[in-house]
C-alpha cells in the first residue's frame, strides 16, 4: 500500500492526525495522546456517545497490514467517512446553534464521567443531514482536580460570539467567520455591542469582561498576570455550572428580525403559482428517477422545497445552497421537521468558499469539496447573469462543471423577477436571451429534455454533460 496521506486540517493536534488511505479514514493516536485516549476509551464514554449518534463511531484497528503503516502511532482508529464536510462559516445560524448545543451537551455528560474536552473548536462538529455530530475522538482527556475550562475562550470565539452577532445585531456570522478562521474575538464583539446588551450578566461574563481582562493582560504582558499553573483553579461544580448556564442561554438565542430578508416569504410569494411548482416537481421527479443520483447540490435552494421533491424521488442526499439568511433557516426547519437528508448551507455563488487556512489547504473550497452526481439550479442563473453581471455562458459553464447531470431553469427577461432586478438599472444585457442560453448550454452539454413552465418563458432544461 502507498503511504497514507495526512489530511490537511488535522495537523494542529499533538494527540494525533487523520489520514486517508484508499478511501478509508484512519486516525492515529500519538504517544502524547495515547494515555488520555486509552483512559477515556476504557470508560466506555466514547462508545456511548457514538451509540447515541453524537460521535462518529470508531474502531481500534488491530490489522497489522494497517498498523505497520503508522509505525509511530500508539493506536490506529478507523471511522466511517462522512458524506459531506462543511465549515462553520457556511452554516446558517441554526446549524451553528445546534453545533454549540451539541458541544456543551457532550462537555456536560463528559464532566459527569470525570472527562473533559481539551478544546472547543467548531470545526470538530460536522452534520449528517441536519443533525450535528462530533468528529474528534482525541478531544477528550481525564478531568484533573480544579482545572479550568480550557476551551472557554475558543467556545466563545467559535460558537457564542458568532451567534450573538446575529441574535443581538442581526449580522450573519458567515463572512466574518470565513475571513477570521478562528472565529470572532471577545474584544471585537465587545466593541460593537450596544450598551444595553452589556447589562446582560451572560454577555458581561462571557464576552465583555473576558475581553477587558484580555486587553489588560496584553498591556501588562509578562509581568502582572499570574500564570495558569499558579492559580488555584475552579471547583468542578463551577465548571459544570458554566457549561449548563451557557447551554441554557444559547438554547434561547434566536436570529434577530427573521422577516427582513429578500426571499424570506418565498413559500407564500405568488410570483410562483401552484401550477408552476407542480410542473417543476414533476420534471425533477422524472429527472431523479432516471439519473438516480446519490448526492445532489440544490443551488439556490431557497426553503428546500425542490430538494424535498428530489429526495422523495430517490436522491440520497441534498446539499442546499443559498445566500439568503432566512431562506437557509427555512430549509433547515424543513429538513428537521420532515427528517430530510438535506443540509442547507450559505453560499454566495459569485464568491464560493475558497481553499484556505494554513498553506491554503486547511479548509477545502467549494469546488473541490465533493463531486455531486446532479445539480438543481432552479430560478438561479439570473441572479448571476443579471444580478452580478456574469456573462451567461460562464454561468452555464460553471453550473455544468459541478455535476454530470442537472436541471437548470432559464428565467426570461420578461419575467417579473428579472424586471424587478432591472427596474433600478440600465439593461446592459442585450445577449440575455433564451436562444443564447440554449446555445451556451449546447456547447458544454446535451439537452435531454426541456419544459416551458410559465407563459413568461421560464423553462427547465435537463442537461447531460458531454
Amino acid at each position: 500500500m502507498t503511504k497514507p496521506a495526512i489530511l490537511d486540517g488535522s495537523f494542529r493536534d499533538p494527540a494525533g492526525q487523520v489520514h486517508e488511505l484508499g478511501g478509508r479514514i484512519f486516525r492515529t493516536v500519538t504517544q502524547y495522546g495515547a494515555s488520555a485516549f486509552s483512559k477515556v476509551h476504557a470508560t466506555g464514554f466514547l462508545t456511548a456517545l457514538a451509540d447515541a449518534g453524537d460521535l462518529v463511531p470508531y474502531e481500534i484497528v488491530h490489522d497489522p497490514e494497517i498498523t505497520k503503516l503508522f509505525p509511530h502511532a500508539e493506536y490506529v482508529l478507523e471511522h466511517k467517512r462522512l458524506d459531506y464536510i462543511s465549515y462553520p462559516y457556511e452554516w446558517p445560524f441554526s446549524l451553528l446553534k445546534e453545533a454549540a448545543l451539541l458541544h456543551l451537551s457532550i462537555a456536560i455528560q463528559a464532566l459527569e464521567k470525570d472527562i473533559v474536552l481539551t478544546d472547543a473548536s467548531a470545526y470538530n462538529v460536522q452534520f449528517v443531514s441536519s443533525k450535528p455530530i462530533f468528529i474528534d475522538h482525541l478531544s477528550f482527556k481525564p478531568y484533573t482536580d480544579r482545572e479550568y475550562w480550557v476551551g472557554h475562550r475558543q467556545f466563545c470565539e467559535q460558537f457564542l460570539n458568532p451567534l450573538l452577532l446575529r441574535a443581538k445585531l442581526d449580522i450573519p456570522h458567515n463572512s466574518w467567520f470565513r475571513g477570521a478562521q478562528e472565529g470572532i474575538t471577545n474584544e471585537d464583539l465587545s466593541k460593537i455591542l450596544r450598551l444595553r446588551h452589556k447589562f446582560s450578566l451572560n454577555i458581561l461574563s462571557h464576552v465583555v469582561l473576558p475581553a477587558r481582562f484580555q486587553t489588560r493582560a496584553r498591556n501588562t504582558q509578562l509581568s502582572g498576570t499570574k500564570k495558569i499553573s499558579e492559580r488555584k483553579g475552579i471547583a468542578k461544580a463551577t465548571y459544570k455550572s458554566l457549561l449548563v448556564q451557557l447551554k441554557k442561554w444559547i438554547s434561547t438565542l434566536q436570529p434577530k428580525n427573521m422577516n427582513n430578508s429578500t426571499w424570506g416569504s418565498y413559500a407564500e410569494d405568488n410570483t410562483y403559482d401552484d401550477n408552476e411548482n407542480k410542473l417543476k416537481a414533476e420534471f425533477i421527479t422524472e429527472f431523479i428517477q432516471s439519473t438516480k443520483p446519490e448526492l445532489i447540490y440544490d443551488i439556490g435552494c431557497n426553503s428546500g422545497a425542490f430538494s424535498e421533491v428530489a429526495l422523495k424521488a430517490g436522491a440520497h442526499q441534498s446539499i442546499g445552497f443559498d445566500f439568503d439568511k432566512i431562506a437557509i433557516e427555512k430549509a433547515f426547519k424543513r429538513a428537521t421537521d420532515k427528517s430530510l437528508n438535506l443540509l442547507p448551507l450559505y453560499l454566495d455563488a459569485a464568491n464560493p468558499s475558497p481553499n484556505q487556512g494554513w498553506q491554503q489547504s486547511e479548509r477545502v473550497g467549494f469546488a473541490e469539496r465533493a463531486s455531486p452526481d446532479a445539480i438543481l439550479a432552479l430560478a438561479f442563473e439570473h441572479h448571476l447573469a443579471i444580478g452580478k453581471n456574469i456573462p451567461l455562458p460562464q454561468v452555464i459553464n460553471w453550473l455544468v462543471s459541478l455535476a454530470p447531470n442537472g436541471i437548470i431553469e432559464f428565467v426570461d427577461k420578461s419575467d417579473p423577477t428579472v424586471q424587478a432586478m432591472l427596474s433600478m438599472r440600465e439593461d446592459i444585457f442585450p445577449h440575455y436571451t433564451q436562444s443564447s442560453f440554449e446555445s451556451a448550454l449546447s456547447d458544454c452539454a446535451a439537452i435531454v429534455k426541456t419544459n416551458e413552465i410559465t407563459k413568461n418563458g421560464r423553462t427547465l432544461y435537463w442537461y447531460k454533460r458531454v
Binding site: 499533538p14 481539551t118 480550557v150 476551551g151 475562550r153 471577545n186 461574563s205 469582561l209 475552579i234 463551577t238
Partner: protein, 88 residues
C-alpha cells in the same frame, strides 16, 4: 543608512536576544502539559476565577446563613428541619 554606529546595533541586538531568552524562559515555565495544546486566554481564566470565587462565596454564604438560621431556631426552641440537620 540609519545613522546608528556599530556599537548601538550590537546593544540593540543584545537586548533583543535577552528579551527572547526571557520570553522562552517564561514560555517554558508556563507550558504545563495539561494546557499545552490550547491557549485558554488570560481573559477567560480570570473570569472563570472570578465566577469560581463568587460561587465559592455563595456556597460559604449559604452555609453561614444556615448556621445563623439554626442559631435562631435554637434560641426560639424550634426543631431545625431536615435540610438543616447537618448544622446542628
Amino acid at each position: 543608512m540609519t545613522g546608528m554606529d556599530d556599537e548601538s546595533v550590537f546593544v540593540m541586538n543584545y537586548s533583543k536576544a535577552l528579551q527572547l531568552v526571557g520570553f522562552f524562559v517564561v514560555f517554558l515555565n508556563t507550558a504545563q502539559p495539561a494546557y499545552a495544546y490550547l491557549d485558554p486566554g488570560t481573559g477567560s481564566i480570570i473570569i472563570q476565577s472570578i465566577i469560581g470565587g463568587i460561587a465559592a462565596a455563595a456556597t460559604f454564604g449559604a452555609l453561614y446563613w444556615a448556621k445563623v438560621k439554626a442559631f435562631f431556631n435554637r434560641i426560639f426552641h424550634k426543631e431545625p428541619n431536615d435540610s438543616n440537620s447537618n448544622t446542628k
